[in-house]
Symmetry: C2
Subunit: 91 residues, 2 copies
């Protein structure tokens, strides 16, 4: 079974209060040198059958209509290379 990852992040021009809260807390906790933090969502989908172009197109549509709010969010669909490598033998 193949794994497809959908990363959903707020668009760069949209304010990200969650990320800001993390970024401001870091120096207090002793971690310097982080200029900006953005927080988003990661979906891991276990896909039945082959992850061919048709399957990826369907997942793209699913992400666009359902997983992301494309007014304020961008998303990226990609096949998880680790799971692919794992299937090839290493894991």
């Amino acid at each position: 079974m193949a794994r497809v990852v959908v990363d959903v992040m707020l668009k760069p021009e949209i304010l990200d209060p969650q990320g800001q809260a993390v970024q401001r807390a870091l120096p207090r906790l002793g971690f310097d040198g982080i200029a900006d933090v953005r927080q988003g969502k990661r979906f891991e989908l276990e896909v039945d059958g082959p992850v061919d172009e048709a399957a990826l197109a369907r997942i793209h549509e699913m992400a666009e209509t359902f997983l992301a709010n494309t007014v304020i969010e961008d998303f990226v669909v990609r096949v998880d290379e680790e799971s692919a490598a794992g299937k090839a033998g290493a894991k």
Copy 2:
């Protein structure tokens, strides 16, 4: 400025009600063939200065102590190759 991504996901043995809700909704919405969905968090950190081994070690510690709850969550730290490739010229 380099980007480091921290992916935080619930451990496989921990119930993920958010992911389950998504997975159950998909067939109703006309998307079949997705056996499982897990939902997690993605942090994008903009790092000042070079992302060398010391910086990655610090970010690893930060993720362990602050971004993830390691009792119930796993995390992965990785340098965003796209931002690296973009800096090299393509973007």
